[in-house]
């Protein structure tokens, strides 16, 4: 940053031109989906809801529609593929809280997924000697247990930053997997079969939530995702979201501005972990079988890949990224073997050409900010702020005048 040629504070013609330039610069970023974000934000609230409603309806109808070209059949059952995609999407939404909002690189996120899976399976599978509870109750329990682990991991490690934190979390991911192997109660590779599922039977008396029937699982997970998205959106547009982004941007400055950084980092970990646990429990229920083979580091990296691919810090991007990461190997079965190679190359390409991910979106951090911002964007940029012939010290006066003009 130049310290010598800062533009003058007086609202001169040059400064106005600068402002106009910046405005137009902000509007025409280069990229593929850019117009989309800007156009979306320009829409009135009702229209946004209407479009969202349509998108959600289409999403719910996906297992029935089975669109040719999009479908994974005949290689893989389409509703089952959708179920898996939705679970990955949910994981990505959770990981996005940690990595995207708070900027904490967590390479061991699969640990929380594993904790959720094991919680659900140990509380419902007939292979487990412990207390059994109905499957749906394991969802909140899995969230709570994963959250507990998140806090336990967070308190000692969140004093570390950057690379150090990444390495510690990587270690944590491995610890959970290895514990599952060596603790007899967790049954290592043998695992737990017949993990529970939500109740309900159809007209012919068969259970609705079968491991072989993906559609109900997909609808359940989709519903969960929508709820989680709404809650995450509430957090984003509150002091919590602002604290997270502030920490991501400049942790020291955030602390000095009165943000209890440590507390909010632990919260990010805890909330991210609970979503991870929730998705783990859904995964256990849908697959019906849990053993130690599914929670390795590679899966963890795959989750991270989903977030980065979609657009770090963007909820919608995380969903798309998560779904894509699950979808590609299922759709293109011929190349499924090479999926890590492909994701690796894809990541490199994306980092070069689109470092902010497929859907880069800035977080909106104010619950009632839209009206204020719209006032600026809709006001013609040809009416400069404040008068030109203002005396020295005019910046304040100009501000005051403007207020008067708006009143």
């Amino acid at each position: 940053m130049s310290t010598t040629d800062g533009p003058t504070l007086l609202p001169s013609a040059g400064a106005q031109q600068d402002a106009v330039d910046r405005e137009s610069l902000g509007k025409q970023k280069k990229g593929w989906f850019n117009g989309l974000g800007t156009r979306w934000n320009g829409l009135p609230r009702q229209k946004q809801w209407l479009y969202l409603l349509v998108i959600v309806a289409v999403a719910y109808l996906l297992p029935i529609l089975n669109i040719p070209g999009l479908t994974t059949e005949p290689g893989n059952n389409w509703p089952l593929a959708l179920a898996q995609m939705s679970i990955y999407a949910l994981v990505a939404v959770g990981l996005n809280i940690v990595v995207g909002y708070a900027g904490l690189l967590d390479l061991g996120y699969v640990a929380f997924f594993a904790v959720g899976s094991y919680t659900a399976s140990m509380l419902t599978s007939p292979d487990s000697p412990y207390v059994h509870i109905p499957y749906l109750w394991t969802l909140p329990v899995a969230m709570a247990v994963a959250m507990f682990f998140g806090v336990m991991l967070g308190i000692p490690t969140l004093r570390l930053r950057g690379d150090y934190l990444a390495i510690v979390t990587l270690g944590f991911g491995e610890i959970v997997r290895i514990l599952a192997t060596i603790i007899p109660a967790m049954k290592g590779q043998v695992g737990f079969q017949n993990v529970g599922h939500p109740p309900g039977t159809d007209s012919s008396g068969n259970a609705i939530f079968l491991n072989s029937n993906g559609a109900p699982w997909y609808w359940l997970t989709l519903t969960v995702i929508i709820v989680v998205l709404l809650l995450a959106g509430n957090l984003e547009r509150s002091r919590v979201g602002r604290a997270w982004i502030a920490i991501r941007e400049d942790e020291d400055a955030a602390e000095i501005m009165g943000v209890p950084t440590f507390k909010y980092k632990v919260w990010a970990f805890a909330l991210g972990a609970s979503v991870g646990g929730l998705s783990g429990a859904l995964f256990a229920g849908q697959v019906g079988f849990v053993n130690n083979q599914k929670f390795d580091v590679v899966t963890s990296v795959l989750f991270l890949c989903a977030v980065v691919l979609g657009g770090t810090g963007n909820k919608v991007g995380a969903i798309v990224g998560g779904a894509l990461v699950a979808y590609i190997p299922l759709r293109f079965t011929a190349i499924a073997e090479y999926k890590y190679l492909i994701f690796g190359i894809a990541l490199v390409i994306i980092m070069i050409f689109r470092p902010a991910g497929i859907f880069p979106a800035r977080q909106r951090l104010l619950a009632y900010g839209t009206q204020v911002y719209n006032k600026f964007t809709h006001r013609g940029s040809d009416t400069p702020p404040g008068g030109q012939g203002e005396a020295v010290g005019g910046a304040h006066v100009a501000g005051a005048e403007e207020k008067g003009a708006q009143a």
Partner: protein, 295 residues
């Protein structure tokens, strides 16, 4: 906290500076400050700061009176910023203490010191680049907010109230420092001078009892410095107390009520600008040979 004493707002001064009084009222601190105007708000006592073998601050003692603008000056490397950092909790002082309204700030976490009422800006601008100007200010306002994570998650009434008030107060603060029309820009897209002002607005948002400005005019041309001086005076007239680190003698002499001079970590003078200007020690250490156009 003992009985609060209302801040004295210099209405005449504000009017002279051409500030909208309603706006000034909205920006004015509603903090309970228990010391009277003119009494010591912050006391720095025997503050010593050692880095290994280097003594950056050596037994520095001064106080800041409520309602004044205190200048902290000294040549490069004199320990001005170190003094700032030791006061705001960035560094742990080797010995000595800092009292705010008679209570020690030693050992408190930085964010707690901010909540006690000490806010600062940075010499090298440190805004949250991916946030808009308004959001930056609201982060400062959050220091006084009470919403919990649960409250935000479920949008409880406290959260809604605080969010609404923070938009209003945030815009008022931006208007106060003169950049309201840039509220929706990402702070890293703002011009340099606006970024400096935004830092001041963000610090003011934490409702400080003492506002510490670390070289706020660095990189400004004379006209911009003149405007900044007006702004700093306006802030004082609005009831704030200001500690100002500055290089530019003209600015310091023109705006401060009192000046503390540091050299090699030691305090060598502490007086009103007029006396400081004549002080041979200061002249020798900092100002060089006296010149006619110094003021």
């Amino acid at each position: 906290m003992s009985e609060a004493i209302e801040p004295v707002i210099d209405v005449e001064g504000l009017r002279e500076e051409g500030v909208d009084l309603a706006l000034a009222e909205q920006v004015a601190p509603d903090r309970d400050i228990s010391v009277k105007v003119g009494d010591a708000l912050v006391e720095v006592k025997n503050l010593t700061m050692k880095f290994g073998g280097l003594t950056a601050l050596d037994d520095v003692t001064f106080d800041i009176k409520r309602g004044e603008i205190l200048g902290l000056i000294g040549p490069n490397g004199a320990g001005k910023t170190t003094c700032f950092n030791a006061m705001t909790g960035v560094y742990k002082p080797s010995s000595g203490k800092v009292l705010l309204e008679g209570q020690s700030l030693g050992g408190l976490a930085q964010h707690k010191i901010t909540r006690r009422g000490l806010a600062r800006t940075f010499q090298n601008i440190r805004l949250f680049g991916e946030m808009t100007a308004l959001e930056n200010v609201v982060v400062g306002l959050d220091a006084r907010h009470r919403t919990s994570v649960g409250g935000a998650l479920l949008r409880l009434p406290t959260h809604v109230r605080e969010e609404k008030s923070s938009i209003e107060r945030g815009m008022a603060l931006l208007e106060f420092v003169g950049i309201a029309d840039h509220a929706h820009f990402l702070s890293r897209h703002l011009p340099y001078g606006h970024q400096r002002r935004l830092e001041i607005a963000r610090a003011l948002a934490t409702d400080p009892k003492l506002l510490c400005l670390d070289e706020p005019a660095a990189g400004f041309n004379p006209a911009e410095k003149e405007e900044l001086m007006t702004l700093i005076r306006t802030i004082r007239d609005d009831g704030y107390t200001v500690l100002l680190i500055e290089h530019d003698m003209k600015l310091v002499m023109g705006v401060t009520d009192r000046i503390v001079v540091l050299e090699f970590g030691k305090k060598i003078a502490d007086d009103v600008p007029k006396v400081i200007r004549e002080d041979p020690k200061v002249v020798a250490a900092y100002l060089g040979e006296p010149e006619d156009d110094l003021a």
